[in-house]
């Protein structure tokens, strides 16, 4: 085996491990220790209290709804951006990143302004009997906004690399567009779609800034889990904050594992032999 001649391993790896240890791992370990210092019974009673469970329910349901919406809208957006040419396409492509670039607090207050009872959208929806602001629907909209780019940006490169010959072959065999989409294109896209979906869902579960302005934040009804942690801290109930935060942290790790697995799978499909 050839000896590596490049210098700087000790310095660069040392800096990396120190930084990752101090900035990322130490705080997470401290949180885990704090949560573990509660006895099992106490821990369980906090994380399974009715108010906690209600917060998981509203967070997960809104995140699911937002992710399903983004699955369709994100796929349509990626499709339109890669397959069609129309004036303003580049501008739309750039604007897709706005939810990533716009600070969440800013997104939160502007979505609230749009959807509140006398806002541009809220007043119109109000006449139809739909209230968005300060309801779970508002939480869903905020999640839709912040997590939309994930699906577009994971699907887009796969759509761009799709070999036209596959479609041509299916067309020459007499397949209709819808059949070809379902039987040829969708299976090729599905690993990327799944990966984007899990990223979008994970982001929605942890989102805070964009949601709290529009959510109404009523305990048991429109209180997301991240906000419940914040409230427990304001009440100086550090143990409850640690316990509930550990639930979000464990969920994040599970989602991370799922996403990594899906991306590895997606990679296997997209890399051409």
């Amino acid at each position: 085996m050839k000896r590596n001649v490049l210098p700087g391993l000790r310095l660069s790896l040392g800096v990396t491990l120190f930084y990752v240890g101090l900035i990322v791992l130490l705080p997470l370990a401290a949180l885990a220790v704090k949560a573990a210092s509660l006895g099992p019974a106490e821990y369980w009673s906090i994380v399974s209290s009715p108010r906690s469970v209600a917060s998981y329910r509203v967070t997960v349901l809104a995140a699911l709804a937002a992710t399903v919406f983004n699955l369709f809208f994100g796929l349509a957006l990626a499709w339109v951006l890669t397959r069609y040419r129309f004036p303003g396409r580049r501008l739309v492509d750039a604007m897709v990143d706005l939810p990533f670039a716009l600070p969440t607090a800013v997104a939160g207050i502007s979505l609230t302004a749009l959807f509140s009872a006398n806002g541009w959208f809220g007043s119109v929806l109000g006449q139809l009997g739909i209230t968005v602001a300060y309801t779970p629907l508002g939480i869903m909209i905020a999640m839709c906004f912040t997590s939309l780019p994930f699906i577009v940006r994971t699907v887009q490169p796969v759509l761009e690399d799709l070999d036209p010959a596959l479609e041509e072959a299916a067309q020459s065999l007499g397949g209709s567009d819808w059949t070809i989409f379902r039987k040829v294109i969708l299976p090729l896209l599905s690993p990327a779609l799944l990966a984007g979906t899990s990223l979008s869902f994970a982001r929605s579960l942890g989102e805070f800034g964009a949601i709290i302005f529009i959510a109404g934040n009523q305990p048991m009804k429109t209180e997301i889990t991240a906000l419940l942690i914040f409230i427990r801290l304001e009440e100086y109930d550090y143990q409850a904050a640690a316990a509930i935060a550990s639930v979000l942290l464990i969920t994040a790790f599970v989602m991370l594992a799922i996403t990594n697995w899906m991306q590895a799978r997606a990679l296997r499909y997209t890399v051409k032999g």
Binding site: L98, L111, L114
Partner: protein, 295 residues
């Protein structure tokens, strides 16, 4: 063969004019409602009470202090994160060592962790009920509810930003050039500056721009560690929340307009850098698969 060049390309799936127009129409309308409208409303609301209110808000000492806090935080967190990103990319792409894949996963953890969880986690390190809290208190060192806490929390949420732009690119470029430079007697630093950096400069800048946008806009993690002390530990996003809950909507939107401008600038910079090849991922999962430098 020459007539193939003149033949029209066969229509692909979804190219039927009616379907095409309908889909473009739906996407543009939804996009305008969900993405464009939130940006437009910021400007409208910011000037809803006239120029004077707008200028007065931005000129208010609390706003100016919040802007300063945000800029100072970014001036510390972004360069430190950039140095980390370069060190991480250098060690991961130029050497082989056990645990490399694990290190890659750990670097990406902050992407998956809710900013609120990050803030709480920092509380249990530097807060009074945390590991170092009592010690820091004994020596009267303030980390939480002060600038250091804000900087640390910002560094957590943006830790992967620079590294993940550099790693795939430096992985793809291999080690041959650096090895040649070193064997000709260049020092490590010289090799990096003269050989590696020119090849990755746009990707580096891309990571820096995105990192900066996130640091300046971070809300959840910072709102926990800052303590929200008006005129002291408020960054711009926290100041926006404070004004908003004080029923000063126009002021909140005026402050938000600065961050919205930053977002627009970030997107323009992103597009410009992508034209130079930064941030382009051919396919998914550009996770740096370990490539031995030689068979």
């Amino acid at each position: 063969m020459s007539d193939t060049n003149h033949r029209r390309k066969p229509p692909r799936v979804g190219d039927a004019p009616l379907f095409r127009r309908t889909l473009i129409g739906i996407v543009l309308v939804l996009g305008a409602l969900l993405i464009l409208a939130p940006l437009v409303i910021i400007g409208v609301e910011a000037f809803s009470q006239g120029w004077q209110t707008y200028v007065a808000t931005l000129d208010h000492p609390d706003t100016r202090h919040a802007i300063m806090m945000t800029v100072v935080t970014a001036l510390i967190a972004v360069p430190v994160n950039t140095a980390f990103g370069i060190a991480a990319a250098w060690s991961i792409t130029k050497f082989d060592f056990p645990g490399k894949r694990l290190l890659l996963v750990v670097i990406e953890i902050p992407f998956s962790v809710s900013p609120i969880v990050a803030g709480v986690a920092y509380l249990f390190v530097y807060g009074l009920q945390g590991i170092f809290g009592p010690l820091l208190d004994a020596y009267d060192v303030k980390i939480l509810f002060a600038l250091p806490g804000i900087v640390l929390a910002s560094m957590f949420v943006t830790a992967p930003f620079v590294a993940r732009e550099l790693i795939p690119l430096m992985q793809a470029q291999g080690r041959d050039l650096e090895e040649a430079a070193t064997s000709l007697g260049a020092s490590g630093w010289r090799t990096f500056v003269a050989v590696t950096l020119p090849n990755v400069k746009w990707a580096l800048l891309y990571g820096v721009v995105l990192c900066n946008a996130r640091v300046m806009g971070e809300f959840g993690a910072v709102s926990i560690v800052s303590g929200n002390i008006r005129g002291q530990t408020n960054t711009l996003p926290l100041h926006i929340e404070l004004l908003y809950h004080d029923y000063q909507a126009a002021g909140a939107f005026a402050s938000a307009s600065i961050l919205a401008l930053l977002a627009v600038f970030t997107i323009i910079a992103k597009v410009a850098l992508e034209r130079r090849g930064a941030g382009r991922r051919k396919a998914l999962g550009t996770d740096a698969a370990p490539q031995g430098n030689r068979p």
